[in-house]
Amino acid sequence: MSTPSAAPSRRDQPPRLSAVVSDWLAEWGRVVIETIVGLGEWALFTVSVFRWLLLRFPRWETLFPNFYQVGVNSLPVVALTGAFIGMVLAVQSYYQFRQLHLETHLGAVINLTLVRELGPVLAATMLAGRVGSAIAAELGTMRVTEQIDALGSMGVNPIHYLVVPRFLACLLLIPTLTIMADFMGVVGGYFYSVVILEIDKHHYWDNTKNFVGAFDLFVGVFKSMFFGAAIALVSCHRGFHCQPGAEGVGRAATAAFVNSFVLILALDLILGIVLDGIYYTLWPEGNTLI
């Protein structure tokens, strides 16, 4: 008679290498397929949003509360962030520039960085955190409590009613938020550089004028519209495909922010390369800081 100690069962034996590899491959295959399916769903969702946007313009009664939520309510936090970033840039750059006796160039560095990069990216990040998560949580709760199904059952297309107004609000109001972040950043940078560090204000502005042009402002504002669209589409999609329960809503809100943030950075890189290419094609001489 065999005993467990004499003949170990299959469960006690170590797994074969081939089984481990096939499990690992299956797991990765599942992740890849789920990612592709997710991207496909998001692409279809995006197409549907644009189709409804062109098919029928949303009513003002659905647009106005979203414009207020995205634009007016986000303004203080974006302005505050912009002001602090302007001052932080001055603090971080001053000592390096002083060693080269280029303190007066701080204005160019701070303001160029703000209008091209940090203004739009920070405004978008704040919007993703404040509005994107809220959109995902709100739509997720509506999904879980069947309010989205209720809209559909009453002859209302949920994408037209819920997503298109939020998309328009993010797309059209993020440029104003970006301009506000830029403005407050410029004020913050000026305050710290001129008032605290006592840099000559004439040269500070003169250098800014020489290196920051209308195209730089355009780059920041133009990029921000892509960021706004990405935030709305990602957040609404996460809310629409929310898993049941409180955990599902929480995950949707978190995923909305994380995915939006990653997408903002990826778009920033791509648009930066494209717009720089356009700039140096139009103005081959360009501006050099030093």
């Binding site: 409590t145 309010q147 199904d149 209720a150 559909g152 059952s153 009453m154 002859g155």
Partner: protein, 297 residues
């Protein structure tokens, strides 16, 4: 808000005579099985991912009939009802409304067609950012040509139809009890005078008295307007009371591959003594072999 502040849970528009009259009234006799179906499911098959929920379910619902769909949790009752209004797309098979295949309609056509439905959701699915008045008026506003004065009158009329006074108009859904929210959901579903009313577990989570109130409202609605109703429920008292016909679905996981998912289709009176023990057990609420399954390691 204290409970005493809340408007009364009990409907005011209903009285004992009305209730008795509705209960005495024969049901089903007016609906001929040969009447052309207003709703039809043909070999409906629905899967979520790789999980099949409905398999080859066929169903014809004649105009004016009240059909109760019963079955244990997870058997696909709600999915079937959502497929009947195209909120869930079938993997295979068709759903026809007045002979029109819902899958072949464009988004706009489907949107317009859904105005002929009313859907009462399990938890009412009221929009919590809106007041009760705005919730009930919502379908009217979305249809267009909304006249504020006329709309308010219609909303009050529908609320009274489900036994609620106009005091609730300015309240938010969170301020109402579960029974009242369900009645508001019914008022919202009735506002456009639909041809088909779909009720998803209308009595679930309610006390017996309020359950009966909802049953009476379903009967009363049918009396007041020529509506075809589908009631998804596992409340047998409710099914017997409101339905002309009962269809029982069985979970796919417990069926053989060649077995039909519809294990009963007939009048409510035939449920109790049906030859299929699964039907009898469900109707009587007996766990039977399920207890032995649970006890098994």
């Amino acid at each position: 808000m204290t409970p005493s502040d809340r408007p009364s849970d009990r409907p005011s528009a209903w009285n004992a005579e009305e209730t008795e009259r509705l209960e005495r009234e024969p049901r089903g006799s007016a609906v001929s099985p040969a009447a052309p179906p207003v709703l039809e499911a043909r070999k409906l098959h629905i899967e979520f991912g790789r999980q099949p929920v409905l398999r080859d379910v066929s169903l014809k619902i004649p105009r004016g009939q009240t059909l109760a769909v019963i079955g244990e949790s997870g058997c696909g009752k709600t999915v079937l009802m959502k497929a009947l209004i195209a909120l869930v797309r079938p993997t295979r098979g068709q759903v026809l409304f007045d002979g029109q295949d819902l899958a072949k309609l464009s988004d706009k056509e489907l949107t317009d067609l859904r105005l002929r439905y009313g859907f009462v959701f399990q938890n009412a699915a009221l929009f919590d950012s809106m007041t009760i008045g705005q919730n009930v008026a919502f379908p009217l506003r979305q249809r267009g040509n909304f006249d504020r004065k006329e709309g308010r009158r219609t909303v009050i009329e529908r609320l009274q139809q489900v036994g609620l006074s106009e005091n609730v108009l300015s309240k938010k859904p969170a301020e109402l009890s579960g029974g009242m929210r369900k009645r508001v959901g019914l008022a919202r579903a009735l506002i456009l005078k639909p041809d088909v009313l779909l009720y998803d577990e209308p009595t679930t989570g309610l006390d017996p008295i309020m359950s009966d109130v909802i049953n009476q409202l379903i009967l009363g609605t049918r009396r007041q307007m020529p509506v075809t109703s589908v009631v998804v429920t596992h409340d047998m008292h409710s099914a017997r009371k409101v339905a002309d016909r009962v269809v029982m679905l069985y979970p796919l996981a417990r069926l053989d591959p060649d077995e039909s998912q519809v294990i009963y289709d007939g009048p409510p009176e035939g449920l109790e003594d049906h030859e299929d023990s699964r039907v009898r057990q469900f109707v009587r609420g007996e766990a039977g072999e399920r207890l032995r399954e649970l006890a098994a390691p």
